[in-house]
Amino acid sequence: MNAAGELKIVFTGPMGAGKTTAITAISDTPPVSTEVANNDQQAFAKASTTVALDFGQLALSDGTVVRLYGTPGQERFAFMWEILGRGAMGVILLIDANSPNALNDLEHYTRTFRGISPGQPFVVGIGRLHDAADDALAPFRERLATHGIVVPIFSVDVRKHEDTQLLIATVMAILEARMPEPEHGHA
């Protein structure tokens, strides 16, 4: 499979952020997940984790297929990020707000993927936010703002189809806004 020559949306983020869950929530077919037992329980208490990639797809009525890839969460598979990210319609970064490294993860993944394709639509979904905080997303926005980066950052629960759908819809809206004006009428 040539990952650079197909219509694809990439889900990325650290281990446990919900990439497999998001693809499961949205994919037409049960996703192919290459999950194995997590032997890094000290770093993250999770029974299994993705070691290569997750793969799902959206098969549209006209025969077009949009593929959904989830990058492996472990840093040692970071070489896969560029392979998957290059040529994608957009990248969706998922972050677990409860992780002690949430802000560093946000910065690390954002800078890495924007380095791969600077013009690529990039959308951030923050999961497990504490509702009672006045502006719980502010620290995430501010961390990126220190690098002059303004991207959509949404609070999400990727177990819900509509939340993952919002992330994909945002990728599409960004692409549309940056496309040249059509010659005739509305799309």
């Binding site: 650079a4 549209l60 013009g119 303004v150 189809h161 809206a173």
Partner: protein, 346 residues
């Protein structure tokens, strides 16, 4: 109050806030702070730009009622316009240039526009299409949004305000506008723009009653502003260029209606790609005029957009490294949206 005339060039006005030499009351400090906050909130939304300056350079000087009359007379004799802040709660405004604390944002904005006209020496005609009745309706529609904006500008988290309609309290707003509380039914009505059929009034209270839902202030202001009107908010100028400061949290603010969400996303993404005037955005966002205006109103009320002073930049264009679908991207997006909607059962 009407929106500033689109074709008028923006001028700069200097305004001074004069702290009384002899009065150290907290309330005086609060009144001046509230006026200062409102000037900040109104940036880019009034016909002219108002900048704080020393009294000597000011066109308008804001004084407290306790200010010595000889000092005020001296300022008047220099041709400066005077605005008086009164902190006597029971006091009636002595004239149209007196503000009684806590003064509403609509009154301050209206006063600034009057002062601006006075400084111009020209009476600005009201928009010919707006009848007095229509203006009054628009003011009523926006008065609650303005009140919430004022609360946010005052930034006083130590107090709570109850919001009442003709039947009693419907929701409670913290004094910095960052949180609100209400019942589940009221929250549903808020999100659908059906909060109340009668005017809403704010009153200071001790604490909200127990057992209410607790939501972020952006949610309250976003939905109130979105549903307030299908015309521009009074502080938006059709020909001023605005840019997106940051994206609103649509994970929280969307109402679950795909058409509305898609329209909001398109408007926000269009502003993110290129700072635009509302007039230009209507063409670029490719959504129904009403959706674009409502989204802009909500974005501006919550402070997600700001005025751009510099020359209009050029649009960001994505270098498409992605594979191109046979039917083109626009057709792909139409199909993909339909597909996702079908999958979600809507």
């Amino acid at each position: 109050m009407t929106a500033p005339a689109a074709s008028q060039a923006r001028t700069s006005r200097n305004i001074a806030l004069l702290k009384p030499a002899r009065d150290n009351e907290d309330l005086v400090e609060h009144a001046l702070q509230l006026f200062d906050s409102m000037l900040w909130v109104f940036r880019g939304t009034t016909r002219s730009d108002w900048t704080l300056s020393p009294p000597a350079d000011a066109d308008v000087v804001v004084v407290h009622q306790a200010e010595a009359s000889d000092r005020v007379n001296a300022l008047r004799s220099q041709g400066k316009l005077i605005v008086v802040l009164s902190t006597q709660r029971a006091a009636q405004a002595a004239d149209e240039h007196t503000l009684v604390y806590p003064f509403p944002a609509t009154q301050v904005m209206s006063l600034l526009e009057q002062l601006d006209e006075h400084l111009d020496g020209v009476r600005v005609e009201k928009a010919p299409t707006a009848s007095p009745a229509a203006i009054a309706t628009n003011q009523n529609t926006w008065s609650f949004v303005d009140a919430v904006r004022t609360v946010r500008a005052a930034r006083n988290p130590g107090i709570w305000l109850s919001v009442e309609d003709s039947h009693g309290p419907v929701l409670w707003v913290r004094g910095d506008g960052a949180r609100y509380q209400c019942s589940a039914a009221t929250q549903a009505a808020l999100r659908l723009g059906q909060l109340s059929g009668s005017p809403l009034v704010m009153e200071r209270i001790a604490t909200p009653r127990a057992g209410l839902l607790n939501g972020p202030g952006d949610e309250l202001l976003w939905h109130c502003a979105y549903h307030a009107s299908n015309s521009y908010a009074p502080w938006l100028n059709e020909s001023t260029t605005y840019r997106l400061r940051y994206w609103p949290d649509l994970g929280q603010l969307r109402i679950g209606d795909d058409l509305t969400t898609t329209s909001q996303l398109r408007v926000i993404a269009a502003l993110d790609a290129l700072p635009s005037s509302p007039r230009m955005l209507l063409k670029r966002a490719r959504v129904a005029r009403e959706h674009a205006i409502r989204t802009l109103n909500a974005l501006s009320a919550c402070g997600f957009i700001e005025v751009v002073e510099a020359a209009a930049p050029t649009a960001q264009r994505t270098q498409f490294q992605a594979a191109k679908p046979q039917s083109g991207f626009r057709q792909l997006f139409r199909n993909l949206r339909r597909h996702l909607q079908r999958r979600s059962g809507r």
